[in-house]
Structure formats: C-alpha cells, structure tokens
C-alpha cells in the first residue's frame, strides 16, 4: 500500500526567528522551497505609542519616539519636535538647526550601516556584518559623548538640542568622515562585490516603479525603483535647502539596488555633514520656549526623510499640555506591504534577503 499526496507546507517564521529583524512574524506557504504566499502578522512588539502619547506631556513623549526606529533615534526625535515646533510656531537657533542636521545625517549613516550589515548577515556574510557594526560603533561613541546614551539618544528638545557636543566630538567626527570612503570600499570588497552575493541579490524581488508608487513606498526602497523622491528635496524642512547634495536614484528595482543605494546615500550624507561642519555658527542651542509647553488649539502634520523613508507625525492639540491625538506615519510599516507581493514565487532564501533589504525595524512597524 502506498500513500502519496502532496500538500502545501505552512511555515510559521517568527516572531522568534534569527532573521526576522526583531519580532516580525510571517506565515509562509511553501511548495517545496518556493514561496506561494506570505501573510505578514505584525503587532508582536505593539506598545501603543499613539495612545501613550495622549497621557504624556509634549516633552515627555520625546523619549518614546526614540523607541520607534531605534536604529536612527535622533531622526524620530527630530520629526516629533519639529512637528510640535510647527504647531507652536517656534523659531529655533541656527546652531541647533545645524547640530540637528549633523546628528540626523549621522543617524542616517548608522542606520544604513545596520541595513548593510543585516542584509549581509541574512546571507551568512558574517565578516561584512562585523565590519559594518565596527564602524557604526564610532557613531554610537559620538552619540555617547554628547547625549550620554548610545542607542536611544533622546538628543533633541522642543526648541533646540539637549546638549552641546563636547570638545572631543569634533575631531572624532572629522576622523570618521575621513575614513568613510575606505569603509565603503571595504563593504563593497567583502560583500557587495562578491559573486555569490550578487547572484543572490541581483534581479531578485523586483519592485517596479508603478508598484512602488501604487504602494506608496518611500525612502531608499522607492529610490532603488527609479523614483526620484526625497522629502529633503521635495519639501525641504529644517535647513536642507542650504546644502548641496544629490538624491541617489537607481533603476535596478531589485534587492541589490535596494541595498547598495544605501552606500550611495552614505556618501551624500557625508557631503551634507561636511558642509554643516564648515558652516556651523556659534550661539545658543535652545530657543526660548515656555517651561510648560501648551501649543495652541489646532492640528498639524509634518514629515521628514527618515533613513528608512518618510516619517510623519500628526498631532491634534486642544490647547492643554497633552496632545488629544497623535498619529505616527512610520516608513517601514508602509514599506512592508510590498513583501507578500514581491516575494511571491521566490525561494525561501530570497524572501529572507528581500525582507532584509526593506530594512524594517519592528519598533517602527508595530509602534
């Protein structure tokens, strides 16, 4: 007697899985090794950020934003405090604006380094991973010098910056900027130039321009699909209109371009930081804001270009010390919806790689 039947294998990947970048969970339907369907199940890390905001004062919510996209925490601070400043109509000092740009771009570099590292690690490129993390450590050191913490930096305040960078910050920054081209060459040499890595990333997980636009993808993932869109250029916030930089665009639409575009962005960030260091004026780093922050009645939406895409905050104020409603538009939450569409038909290994190139941070996805 022989019993023969074939059936779909339903594999539950995550939330505890080595390559799920935190606590992502997806139910993968497999025909052999080929993926026929993916159901992303998000919410394992949900902490109710938006609801928490309603019971915190405006200043008290800043540390919570650190825990959104924890790989680029200054950026989340920035987006939030700028939203509140926009609501209150506060002008912040020049020096604080420049410092915000410097820390924001450092955060962009650090975040992209983690993306490169984790993409490499998800394909077992162990050394590339440790190279990128070694270099990211230097940025963490610079955070630590200024703000005292390394990951959740909490460096910005409504009206300016929390602290002036110490003396030793500037030489450390300078030497980091000088070493970056060499670092990027190293990443290319050990990982992106490798034949196996190219074979695994090139022409895999095609996200066409139309698909990207329809799914309202933002950030490097969008620009790797050939759309020239960056909030820093499209709707310049802070002082980005003063800097000379390009928005790197690639047209490969595949996993390889989605990853390597981050190397291009690091180069551009270096350019911006160099200009900011050159032009930074002296003066105070905090504007005169009242001790108790009470924005006027109204609502406001503000968006910035997070390393992972467009990060927006929407705040409704009823004139009290706490927001009535706070809504976060996280970049990777929206980018993540491409995963089931793009990954269908590829092998399980490719799904892991495609997920890595999205650079999803679950703190931001689950809020």
């Amino acid at each position: 007697m022989s019993i023969e039947k074939t059936e779909e294998l339903i594999l539950n990947m995550g939330p505890q899985h080595p390559s799920m970048h935190g606590l992502f969970r997806m139910v993968v339907h497999l025909a052999g090794e080929t993926v026929t369907n993916i159901e992303p199940k998000i919410g394992y890390l949900h902490r109710g950020m938006e609801k928490l905001a309603e019971s915190r004062t405006y200043s008290q919510f800043i540390p919570y934003t650190d825990r959104l996209d924890y790989l680029a925490s200054p950026h989340n601070n920035w987006a939030y405090v700028q939203t509140v400043e926009k609501l209150m109509g506060v002008e912040i000092p020049e020096r604080a604006e420049y410092l915000r740009v410097i820390f924001g771009e450092l955060a962009r570099i650090a975040s992209h380094q983690v993306c490169i590292a984790s993409t490499a690690l998800d394909m077992a490129g162990w050394s590339a991973w440790s190279y990128a993390f070694r270099d990211r450590e230097r940025i963490c050191d610079m955070y630590e010098m200024t703000a005292g913490s390394r990951l959740t930096v909490n460096i910005m305040r409504i009206g300016g910056m929390s602290a002036e960078p110490p003396e030793e910050f500037w030489p450390a920054l300078q030497s980091f900027l000088d070493d970056t081209p060499e670092m990027l060459e190293e990443y290319y040499g050990i990982f992106f130039g490798n034949e196996i890595a190219m074979g695994r990333l090139k022409n895999v997980g095609i996200l066409t321009k139309e698909m990207a636009e329809n799914l309202s993808i933002t950030g490097p993932v969008l620009r790797a699909s050939g759309v020239d869109y960056d909030v820093r250029k499209a709707e310049p916030y802070s002082i980005y209109d003063r800097f000379d930089f390009d928005v790197p665009v690639r047209t490969g639409c595949d996993s390889y371009d989605r990853t390597i575009i981050r190397m291009d962005e690091i180069v551009e960030s270096i350019k911006i930081i160099k200009q900011a260091v050159r032009d930074i004026p002296g003066g105070p780093i905090m504007a005169k804001v009242p001790k108790v922050i009470k924005p006027p009645v109204g609502e406001v939406y503000h968006r910035v270009e997070n390393p992972k895409g467009e990060l927006g905050f929407y705040i409704v104020s009823d004139g009290t010390t706490k927001p009535t409603r706070l809504r976060i538009r996280p970049a990777t939450f929206i980018n993540l919806q491409m995963l089931p569409i793009v990954a269908k038909g590829w092998k399980i290994q490719d799904v892991v790689a495609i997920f890595a190139t999205l650079d999803a941070v679950l703190g931001e996805v689950d809020k």
Binding site: L121, M123, A124, S127, I196, I348, Q349
Partner: protein, 355 residues
C-alpha cells in the same frame, strides 16, 4: 650526521617501531590475536584523532571567525582561551536532553550516533605516514566516498525524526545537495586514480614522491575543494543548517550532547575530507626529510582546514538553485573534461615514452 640521520629515521618510524614491539609481545606476531589487538589499538588511535581534532577545531573555528571579523575571539578561559572548547563541552553535558513530542524517537536518537561514527570509519583508511594506514584496503578512495555519503542519510533522519518543519526542510536540502555533489567529488578523484592506476590511498601517496598531484591535476583539485565543501555542508554551501532561513536545519530540536555529537561529527568529517585532500592532491606524508612524515601530513591537513574556515567566514551563502546549477552544469562537465584530458595526457605520455 650519522646519528642525526638515525634519529630522524627512528622518529619517522616511531609508530611502526612501537607497533612491532607490541606485536613482539605475542608468541606468534602474525597470529589472529596479535592482529585483533593491533586493530583495537588502531581504532582507539583513530577515535583519539577525531576527538582531538574536534577539540582543537572548535576553538580554531571561533578564533578564525574572530580574526576575519576583526575581534579577538574567545580569550578568557585559560591561556589565550585554549580551554574554551572544554567549557563548551561541559556546558553541553549539563543540558537537559529533550526529545520533542511527536518525534520519531528511534530515528531521532540514532542519527547523531551514526554521524559521529562516520569520520572514524573514513579516517581509518588514511595513510598517516609510510605504511601507517590503520587499515590498508585496496579500494580506499571508493570506500571513503561511500562511507562519507552515509551522512546524507543522517541529516535526513535527523530532519524527519525531529517532527519540525524547519528540520524537514533542512533534511530535504541535505539530500538534494549532497547527492548532487557526490558525483563531481568522485569524478574529480578519478584523474588521480587513472594516473596511479590504483584506488589504494597508500599507493597514491607513494606515487607523489617527486611531484604532488595538485600540480598535475589543478582543475580536479579545485572541483574537489568545491564539491568537498558542499559535501561537508560548510559555508558557502551550508544550506542545510542555514540559521537565517531554516534556523538550524536538522539540528534545531537537538540539545546537549546529542547536538554535541553532530558537532563532533561535523568537525570529524571536515578533518577526514581535509585528510583525503592532503593524501590525494598534496602528497600526504611525503615532504622534505627533515620532518617526520606524519608531521607533514598533519600540517597539510591543517592548511586545508584553515582554508575551509577562511572561506566559511568570508563568503555569503549560495542560493539553492545556483547550488544545483553549479553542481550539474559546471562541476560535473568540468570533471568529465578533466577525466578526458587526463586520459589524453596519459596516452600522449605513453606514446612519447614509447610504452
């Protein structure tokens, strides 16, 4: 000079002299009982080699990982972290032995035991020095490849027996991958067999007195290295235990010493494959006379193992369709071309030499 030569000669034949002395204890040195005793002693020595190799290699692997990724590696336990493996082993022994519910218990339990036996069986036919093969059989290469392919079965048993989807995927990958790569692996060795006209590993080493076969068979060596890495499930071909995709493949459900046996088996197999490469392509125990043959042999094995570790920690993992493509469309034709070229070379050589 005389004494030095005598000393070297003695050192070179040290183990043979000891063996003769043990045989001399018996009334008839060639009796069944003498042979049995010698076989038991040989077996114990091979077991010691496997365990020692694992002990050293686990530390070396972690050190190499450290060096390639610019960190010191384990350096806390003992001088320069040399006791790290012992600590690891103690930790494994202290762990609870868990058998998952719904597992096929018999298969689940015997899979790691079988895989641990394989390197002992394969290392038993390797000539460690002149006349120093524990068991000297005429079909050495064939025996080696046949035994090492049993490990495929172990991975499938572990994968099926665990009752875990990740393990099953890993087990199926193991079957697909290892069966594909056995063919180029054996074909790459055939060139050497054609030149020496023998499957006996001792004869093959003897034939490399003047020139190691890596010079005559460079293509075969490259094919052997790639196929050997795939056969061992070492990176970049470690799809079976790809922790980013299938967690740990067939090993996911194993704990404690059962998992440790898999580990020992992996490193034992790695030693065995390196030993085969050293024997067939690098000249085995042959080398300049100032060092004993077995020292040369183990140095060559060490170089091969270091190469494998170096590759593991720098290369990303290959994709499964590329893996199959490489085996069937690149390595297999190349190995057949190598056999053809070797045949032509032998023919021309005989024609020129008038044989």
């Amino acid at each position: 000079m005389e004494t030095l030569n005598y000393l070297l000669e003695t050192l070179n034949n040290l183990f043979l002299i000891i063996a003769d002395a043990i045989r001399g204890l018996f009334a008839d040195p060639q009796s069944v009982w003498a042979n049995l005793t010698m076989n038991v002693i040989n077996f114990i020595i091979v077991v010691i080699i496997v365990v020692l190799a694992a002990l050293i290699l686990i530390l070396l692997e972690r050190k190499v990982a450290g060096w390639t990724s610019q960190r010191p590696g384990p350096n806390r336990l003992g001088p320069r972290g040399w006791f790290q493996t012992i600590a690891d082993a103690l930790k494994l022994m202290g762990k609870e032995d868990v058998t998952p519910a719904g597992a096929d218990k018999l298969i689940f339990k015997i899979a790691p035991m079988i895989i641990f036996c394989l390197p002992m069986m394969t290392l038993a036919v390797i000539p460690y020095g002149k006349d120093m093969a524990p068991i000297n059989i005429d079909l050495g290469i064939l025996y080696f490849v046949a035994i090492s392919s049993i490990s495929t079965l172990c991975f499938l048993m572990a994968g099926w027996g665990s009752n875990n989807k990740y393990s099953l995927l890993g087990g199926m990958r193991a079957v697909a991958q290892m069966i594909s790569y056995e063919i180029p692996l054996l074909f790459s060795l055939l060139g050497v067999v054609m030149i020496t006209q023998s499957f006996n590993l001792g004869v093959i080493v003897e034939a490399q007195g003047t020139i190691p076969f890596i010079v005559l068979q460079p293509l075969a060596f490259v094919i052997f290295m790639i196929a050997g890495l795939a056969e061992l499930n070492r990176a970049p071909f470690d799809l079976v235990e790809a922790d980013q995709e299938v967690v740990a493949g067939p090993f996911t459900e194993y704990t404690g010493l059962r998992w440790g046996l898999f580990f020992l088996g992996e490193y034992g197999n790695m030693t065995a494959m390196s030993a085969l490469a050293a024997t067939v392509f690098l000249g085995g125990w042959q080398g300049p006379a100032f060092l004993p043959g077995y020292v040369w042999f183990f140095m060559k094995v060490g170089v091969m193992i270091f190469m494998m570790m170096w590759v593991r920690w720098t290369f990303p993992r290959i994709r499964i369709d590329h893996l199959m493509h490489l085996a069937w469309k690149v390595l297999l034709p190349l190995s057949i071309v190598n056999i053809l070229l070797t045949g032509l070379g032998i023919y021309i050589y005989r024609f020129v030499m008038g044989g």
